[in-house]
Amino acid sequence: MKPVTLILRGLLVLAALLVLLPLVWTLLNAFKTNADLLVSTPKLIFAPVWDNMDYVLGRRSVSRALMNSLVVCSYAVLLGAVLGVPAAYVIARIKNRATQEAQFFALSLRFLPPVAVAIPMMVIWLGLDMYDSRPALIITYMTITVSITIWLSVPAFERVPIAIEEAARVDRLGPYAVFFRIALPVAKLQVLSAIAFSFILVWNEFLLAMMLTTSRAKTLPIIASEMSQLGMSVPWGILNAAVVLLSLPPLILLALVGTGLNTAFSKKSSE
């Protein structure tokens, strides 16, 4: 191996460690007792305990927040996909003034600082008497999921060669059949990863959730952040356990979509 390659490999390993070590550390700390945690030399070998996890999972607030997060994010993502994917297809296939504006509007939603959305939303939901409810949060999150899904799915559909759709029309497919039987399956992986990405964004969302919920509809990130303020001292173990719990769904999703994406990119492209 050439020295340059060796150095570059070393850099890659270093970068990977920079990302991975804090995660590993969090994972380890989630299973340590306070005695193991609060030592000056960090311990790698220790007797793992489930206390922190038990504590986190045993709390009513956590299980409720977990349900809230799952329900709110799933609905927001589902609705975002149902609205966003067809919209992206239309934007990708029909190029005119209206669709261009629509595409820019979807993108501009992402430029907006969340606070600018949060305060008006707060007033609206208070006025409708829906403040601190799951539907309110679902609809608010839809602005995020729809715009992200559209934004990332438009290029996915643009990559589907137009001739394939024309061949399908000659094969007697109507516009809906062309979308469901041809365009969607061909762009599947990229569209799925767009949807997964929108899920990760709303799953991790903090600011809007904090401003739009007070008790009933609190999501997991809010609860996790509250755990850092239990009593006087920081409960490191519990905090770490909460973070691990919080990170699991996005990681699982990423693993699922990630393998899909890998196969998509390593295959010879059809064009």
Partner: protein, 350 residues
């Protein structure tokens, strides 16, 4: 099987008129090739026949029925695209049968029709592969199979071979000709490759800038090009052109003296194919002195650039005829091989 008829077809993209007043009537079983330079509107026309492009004006009839407003799937056509356009998420088998499934043909019937099509194109061993696992030539065969199995009234081809390398192109060209011979479906084939047009066509429709320049069998177009454009476009190497002024019923400049065709006036362009120029070792009756400027070896033949008075022209001679650059020789322009065109209008004279 069906006839195809275009009546006064027009196509505009906004202000831009790309096809104007196109009239063509295609017989049952006929293999028609649209030939023309890039951008002349061949694909646009084919896509209007297919229903993939709106018809701005005029009528399109297939089998006698007006098709202007019908969906592509209801026109009884099948199309083969330049870049194959196979469904990448389906196996080869499914690609071929998908169209039939959509029309509600039963499973057993599909199986029955699949076998001969697959055998005809030699695709049996690829049936369970995905399109990405095939070469370009194999993919185009699948696309042809997909069109064939539908037993359409009309086959449409849009430059099906232009993405393939030369050898494969020749191969598949022969195959398409063979398929047409057995199936006898009416076919429209778009290409800018004149060899493909010459070898496949019952009739060539030579197009230029959205109009028909000339229509006829390959022999007709080659031996009697109707316009300067047709004369220059068809035939490799290209036809030689020489400009003359008509004076007293003859074409003459210091050296050349030829009778002008009846009714010729003003500027006349004389055309002769390089293969028709006769190269003679010595002066003979009616021969002209010429100077060899360049000599290109083409294998079977040599292409020689000659200077003859103020004109320069090419002659195609057998490869064994050794000529040096700068050598002086004599040429003869046989009268029955000459083509006369009005320089202004580009129309053939005589």
């Amino acid at each position: 099987m069906a006839t195809v008829e275009c009546r006064n077809i027009r196509k505009c993209y906004g202000e831009l008129e790309v096809i104007r007043d196109f009239n063509l009537s295609i017989q049952d079983h006929e293999f028609v090739v649209f030939l023309g330079p890039s951008g002349c509107g061949k694909s646009t026309l084919l896509r209007m026949v297919a229903g993939l492009e709106d018809i701005t004006g005029g009528d399109l009839l297939i089998g006698g029925a007006r098709m202007n407003d019908r969906d592509p799937g209801d026109r009884g056509i099948a199309m083969v695209f330049q870049n194959y356009a196979l469904y990448p998420h389906m196996t080869v088998r499914h690609n071929i049968t998908f169209g039939l499934e959509r029309t509600g043909v039963g499973k057993a019937e599909i199986e029955r029709r699949l076998t001969p099509v697959v055998d005809a194109l030699g695709l049996a061993i690829y049936l369970d592969r995905k399109p990405v696992e095939l070469s370009g030539g194999q993919q185009q065969r699948v696309a042809i199979a997909r069109a064939m199995i539908k037993t359409p009234e009309v086959f449409l081809f849009d430059e099906p071979l232009s993405n393939l390398d030369a050898k494969l192109r020749g191969h598949l060209r022969v195959e398409i000709a063979r398929l047409h011979k057995t199936l006898k479906s009416t076919s429209i084939y778009v290409t800018h490759d004149q060899l493909e047009a010459m070898t496949l066509a019952d009739r060539i429709v030579l197009m230029n800038q959205g109009r028909i320049e000339q229509m006829g069998t390959p022999e007709e177009i080659y031996s009697r090009p109707a316009t300067l454009f047709a004369a220059g476009f068809i035939g490799t190497p290209n036809m030689n052109f020489m400009q003359f002024e008509v004076e007293g019923g003859a074409l003459r400049d210091g050296l050349i003296h030829l009778p002008a065709p009846a009714g010729a006036q003003g500027q006349v362009t004389l055309g002769i194919r390089p293969g028709s120029v006769e190269v003679l070792p010595d002066a003979a009756e009616g021969s002209l002195p010429a100077l060899v400027e360049r000599d290109e070896f083409h294998g079977e033949t040599r292409l020689v650039s000659l200077r003859c008075g103020t004109h320069s022209l090419m002659a195609s001679v057998p490869a064994h005829m050794a000529l040096q650059e700068g050598q002086e020789l004599h040429i003869r322009l046989p009268e029955d091989k000459l083509h006369y065109f009005d320089t202004q209008t580009g129309q053939r004279l005589d």
